[in-house]
């Protein structure tokens, strides 16, 4: 389960982009997921996100994200109609309840909750995509130019996480064979048993941190001004993907200005497609966002394209 959260090299195009290009593309994706409230736009972004996850061969990772995300989305869909009653289309009115009185369930609140649920899933999908395609080291290298200490701390933490997980598993095994049954006892007793694991992890981490710090000093860390190693190359594919992201952003801004990306949920649901231009713009946005995915497919299956980009 835990290994799905870490980056794994699959050799897909999205993993082989310059960090500026892929981060730019993902930033546009994320911005759009927050920018629009129109259900069609949100659903479209979610679908392209899902397609990107498939292209990035990260379905297993996505499954782990969705397991948590779907419950949260359902919760939003359920809670919103219970809390907001501003809609005009009441589809059910509860009998008088203690403290709450009569609770009205409105169609508008259900639709709004569903749209927010899709937005949540879209955002989670984008995070999943980011963890699948952004190499942590490239990401840190990009930021280390102006915030290298923070980048280094993140790098150390990233490196420590799998090591700590291994250490934890080892400690757990050792304690199990000294008679500790982690499944037995009430919650308080089990918490006490787990706290011992944390003790071990803390002690081991502190000792390890001292050794790491020593190794860093031995390699001139903090000895004076430092430079930054840039190993990434800029290729045509980076330009294409970044341009696609920018294009999607331009289309989105235009849609927002024209009000196509907004949708009235209250007091009554608005018209889904008030103007055909709204759909044309949506197609433009989704098409732009999907361009890197098409390139990714071509990169994998069409050697000529691979040669050229």
């Amino acid at each position: 389960m835990l290994e799905h959260l870490f980056y794994e090299d699959k050799g897909v195009l999205l993993q082989n982009l310059h960090s500026t290009a892929i981060l730019g593309y993902l930033a546009v994706f994320f911005t759009l997921a927050l920018l629009f409230s129109h259900p069609l736009y949100l659903a479209g972004i979610f679908l392209v996100g899902a397609l990107a996850v498939v292209t990035a061969e990260a379905l297993e990772k996505w499954e782990a994200y969705l397991k948590a995300g779907l419950w949260m989305a359902l919760l939003v869909m359920l809670i919103n109609p219970l809390v907001f009653h501003a809609g005009k289309t009441v589809i059910w009115r509860s009998p008088a309840l203690p403290l709450l009185g009569n609770v009205s369930i409105c169609l508008e609140a259900i639709c709004y909750g569903a749209a927010m649920g899709i937005r949540l899933l879209a955002v989670l999908t984008i995070f999943c995509l980011a963890s699948a395609v952004v190499h942590p080291d490239k990401f840190l290298s990009l930021f280390s130019r102006f915030a290298y200490k923070s980048a280094l701390v993140v790098s150390l933490a990233t490196r420590m996480l799998p090591a700590a997980a291994r250490e934890l598993a080892n400690a757990r095994e050792m304690l199990q064979l000294r008679g500790v049954d982690f499944a037995a006892g009430n919650l308080k007793e089990r918490l006490k048993k787990y706290s011992r694991l944390l003790d071990i992890l803390l002690l081991a981490s502190l000792e390890g941190a001292l050794q790491t710090a020593e190794a860093m000093q031995a390699r001139a860390f903090g000895s004076g001004p430092r430079s930054c190693y840039r190993r990434e190359l800029w290729r045509p594919r980076d330009l294409l993907c970044l341009t696609a992201g920018c294009l999607a952003l331009v289309f989105s801004c235009y849609a927002r200005v024209k009000g196509y990306g907004d949708y009235n949920y209250y007091l009554q649901l608005g018209v889904l497609v008030p103007n055909p231009a709204s759909l044309i713009l949506l197609a433009g946005i989704l098409g732009s966002l999907a361009l890197p995915l098409v390139l990714s497919w071509g990169w994998k299956h069409w050697p000529y394209l691979r040669l050229k980009i």
Binding site: D137, L177, D199, E207, E214, R219, A220, S223, R226, S227
Partner: protein, 567 residues
């Protein structure tokens, strides 16, 4: 002028009353390979840190005397200049890697030195090419094997282009073949590239022949330093144990020459055996590829039947392993890194459940028996004993096991502490003890439960020869009392000395299983140094003692048994 000159140096770690280094006087010449040997806590690592400038800069403490580098005080060099002159590789590769990928890791030191982009590219290309790391440049450091990690650590230091390379037990966590590969690199760096190398090592048989000079440390002092042969002779005269088995063997024979390598040793041996005798057929049996025959079924302690296991990531770690270990056996599992040794141990301890096949511990199927129940029968010590020490005192650690398993003390804590020499540390925090002592505490915490089967994963890692001897004697004593010991080790000398049975694993399968003479005696590369010395001359010799017995039986030369105990 010597490269390093250390004069009358004494050093105390902060809040310590006893000096870690006492009155050290040492010269290190440019281009030489200095080997430093000594027991745990003898000050070897402190000396390495001193030479790398980490003492006192990183550790603090009090320092008297002076350290000169090319005639200039080390403290006057400044950290940046020092880092470009002296590089250090530590024992644990896991803790010295900072970045997430190989390329970034190697570049880390260069970035710290503020080098321009072009220079960094050049150095990275050269170092990765030299060490064969180019194919791994985008690999996550966390996914590398122990040997690869240590190579990356070496590459990170070499990229900084130091003139002196300090290696603090760099191969203690590597299997014999990977360790040999690492030392081949060190030899090239020293002999072909002109690096000055200061090497600290416990397993001397691997590197004795590489050294120009040898320094022996004890209690923070340098007892003796000088040309290897001269110091080795002095060691032999003073019954010190820091000699490779070949040298130890000839020292015990009081032979006029003191060979340091197998090649030299074989030349000397030819004088005793001018014409090699015909191989003794009964001792040169090939190792069995099948499990030990089903005898003494009533004494069966653990048994694996057609055991298969695949990790969730798809790695098939065990492929049809069948194995039976009887009561009172001392069996050692050997093999390269990632051969499936630790997975097999975890299966036999019940920590992992078979994918296919069965594991029976004292007749109980591990798939259906709860771990707490297995814990009464099996003691399991992982590679890193620190992962089980968390109590405030040694006694509390032992009592923790008893309480969890619902066992009465009945004097067992006293017994175990005494047996493992831990009585003086009864009220000491385990984390304040040395690594060898911590390991004994972890072992004691298992032994109080009086398990029938003791499973140990590389207990000799980073342990000096004296502690190894103590551990081996202790385990041998327990085996005599009926305990079954099953352990993984890369230390062939230890296996040859104490084990009765050797199981060789390769790619998740048992490729050889038999008595230690059958397996180690016939092994191409997993053989102890003495077996290589006697190979083709006298078969069935694995240890110094066995060699001496053969020579005695041959009537050629009477070994001096008076020195035997000392060495």
């Amino acid at each position: 002028m010597a490269l390093f000159e250390i004069e009358n140096l004494t050093y105390f770690y902060p809040e310590c009353d006893t000096p870690a280094l006492k009155n050290i006087n040492l010269h290190i010449e440019e281009g030489e390979l200095l080997l430093i040997a000594g027991g745990s806590g003898s000050g070897k690592s402190s000396l390495a840190r001193l030479l790398a400038g980490l003492i006192p800069d990183f550790y603090g403490g009090k320092l008297a005397g002076r350290v000169l580098f090319r005639g200039k005080k080390l403290s006057e060099l400044g950290p940046r200049l020092l880092n470009t002159q002296v590089g250090i590789v530590f024992q644990d590769p896991e803790q010295q890697l900072v970045m997430t990928t190989v390329e970034a890791e190697i570049a880390f030191g260069l970035e710290n030195l503020g080098l321009p982009q072009g220079e960094m590219f050049r150095r990275l290309a050269e170092v990765m090419g030299f060490l064969g790391l180019t194919s791994l440049k985008q690999e996550f450091t966390a996914n590398l094997s122990g040997g690869q990690k240590q190579k990356v650590a070496l590459a990170s230091v070499l990229a900084m282009n130091p003139r002196v390379l300090i290696l603090d037990e760099p191969t203690s966590q590597l299997d014999p073949l990977t360790a040999d590969e690492f030392f081949n690199l060190v030899e090239r760096l020293n002999k072909e590239m002109g690096y000055t190398v200061v090497l600290i090592e416990q397993r001397l048989e691997r590197c004795f022949h590489l050294a120009d000079r040898l320094a022996i440390m004890e209690g923070g002092k340098i007892l003796r330093s000088g040309p290897v042969r001269e110091v080795a002779r002095w060691e032999a005269e003073n019954s010190l144990p820091f000699l490779p088995p070949v040298a130890k063997f000839f020292a015990m024979l009081r032979a006029p020459a003191l060979p340091l390598t197998v090649k030299e040793g074989r030349k000397e041996l030819k004088k005793l055996y001018p014409s090699p005798p015909a191989p003794e057929k009964d001792q040169a049996r090939p190792a069995r590829l099948l499990p030990v025959p089903a005898t003494r079924q009533d004494k069966r302690v653990v048994e694996a039947k057609n055991l298969w296991f695949t990790y969730p990531n798809g790695k098939e770690a065990l492929k049809g392993v069948s194995l039976r270990v009887n009561r009172g056996e001392f069996a050692v599992i050997i093999g390269e890194n990632a051969a499936g040794k630790t997975t097999l141990l975890k299966q036999l301890a019940g920590l992992l459940k078979p994918g296919r096949g069965r594991v029976l511990v004292m007749g109980k199927d591990t798939r259906t028996t709860a771990l707490p129940e297995l814990a009464r029968r099996v003691g399991y010590l992982a590679q890193n004993p620190n992962t089980c020490l968390f109590q405030d005192t040694v006694e509390a650690e032992l009592r923790f096991t008893l309480d969890n398993l619902g066992l009465e003390d009945g004097g067992v804590i006293d017994d175990v502490l005494k047996r493992l020499g831990l009585l003086p540390y009864r009220q000491t925090n385990p984390r304040d003890l040395s690594s060898g002592e911590r390991q004994r505490v972890a072992l004691a915490a298992l032994l109080v439960a009086k398990p029938a089967l003791l499973i140990l994963d590389e207990p000799t890692r980073g342990v000096d020869c004296r502690l190894k001897k103590e551990l081996g004697s202790c385990l041998a004593g327990l085996v005599r009392e009926g305990l079954t010991v099953l352990m993984v080790t890369h230390d062939m000398e230890f296996a040859a000395e104490y084990a009765k049975r050797i199981i060789m694993l390769f790619d998740g399968r048992i490729v050889s299983d038999g008595s230690k003479h059958e397996v180690l005696g016939n092994s191409l590369f997993y053989s102890p140094q003495i077996a290589r010395l006697f190979g083709g001359t006298v078969d069935g010799v694995l240890t110094v003692e066995e060699g001496l017995e053969k020579i005695s039986a041959n009537g050629e030369l009477s070994p001096c048994l008076a020195t035997k105990a000392g060495l």
